[in-house]
Amino acid sequence: MEDKNRFKTLSVPLDVLIDVVSIIKETELQNEITGVNVNRSFIELKIEYQNGLGYHQRAIENIESILDDYNHYRFEELETDWRNS
């Protein structure tokens, strides 16, 4: 039997963390913080969602859209060193 629960790991910057957490709270998505990067100000968030469940799907798309927009404005590439990036 196919497992309907899927997982998605996202890097969530501090700037939009409150927005992402609001969506998770609102839609009751199961989540786990799997990492914290203090030097880049983001957290690694593992989200469990039910595949095929519309509102879960839309919530994930909502979060990904926010992260895409953020990355579009904030980064051109993921810098590792301010002098040589």
Binding site: S22, N39, Y55
Partner: protein, 245 residues
């Protein structure tokens, strides 16, 4: 004692004087016949009544079985849709995209500024254009660096002084002095240089300095970076000279 059955009219040996039916079956059938007369006002053959009743009974049993068969499925479905699932279905219907306030603020500022300022970055004067490009490349590089270090826990005082000096040299450069009056980042560059100098002075004894931007300033820097991205390419800090060329 020989008697005649009230229902089938056959003779039978009655053990008791009050016995009117040859069998329990005839007694039952006679009872049914009487009931049929009472209910429908007509006399029908009890066998037909019994057959109908038997059919009804069978149907009733079947219905009962159906009810017993269907009911668990209905209950099972009910069990599968407890209050929380129903609530989730309601959420599904009502789900609305939740925008990011941070992104909304960046977008709003970016759109409002691009209308007013983006065209000012391009001039028909080649010399002014050359100065603009020279400054914009360095300013973009510095904004990238400041955004990067502001997201770190802290940075060394030496690194902060290096970036502050780059801002100071940029402002002192001939190219900066020759910029048109309406250059959109003129005030920002000078103001930010002053802020960096203050942080350096306040942390002159520290090894590591936290450089945190408030929300408004960070949005401002992100928007400026996006505007500059449209007109100049990204060049590494280590490859740029911030003094006059």
């Amino acid at each position: 004692m020989i008697k005649t059955c009230t229902y089938c009219k056959k003779e039978f040996d009655a053990k008791r004087i009050d016995k009117n039916y040859c069998s329990a079956s005839c007694r039952q059938l006679n009872h049914l016949q009487r009931k049929a007369v009472e209910m429908f006002g007509v006399s029908v053959k009890a066998e037909n009544v019994k057959a109908s009743i038997d059919t009804l009974s069978e149907n009733a049993k079947t219905d009962e079985q159906n009810v017993k068969t269907v009911l668990p499925e209905v209950l099972k479905e009910e069990e599968q849709t407890p209050a929380i699932v129903k609530e989730k279905k309601e959420i599904e219907k009502e789900y609305r995209n939740m925008p990011s306030r941070f992104i909304e603020e960046v977008t709003a500022m970016y759109k409002s500024r691009s209308v007013k300022h983006s065209h000012k970055l391009i001039s028909e004067d080649k010399l002014i254009n050359k100065n603009l490009v020279w400054i914009n490349i360095r300013l973009r590089c510095l904004l990238e660096a400041v955004l990067f270090i502001s997201e770190r826990n802290s940075l060394s005082l030496g690194d902060l002084i290096e970036i502050t000096n780059a801002f100071i040299n940029l402002i002192k450069s001939e190219q900066f002095k020759k910029l048109p009056e309406n250059y959109p980042y003129r005030f920002f560059v000078k103001d930010f240089r002053n802020k960096l100098k203050r942080v350096c002075i306040e942390n002159s004894d520290a090894e590591d300095v936290p450089l945190k931007l408030n929300r408004k300033l960070k949005i401002e820097l992100i928007v400026y970076r996006c505007e500059l991205r449209e007109v100049v390419t990204k060049i590494k800090f280590s490859e740029l000279n911030f003094k006059n060329e």
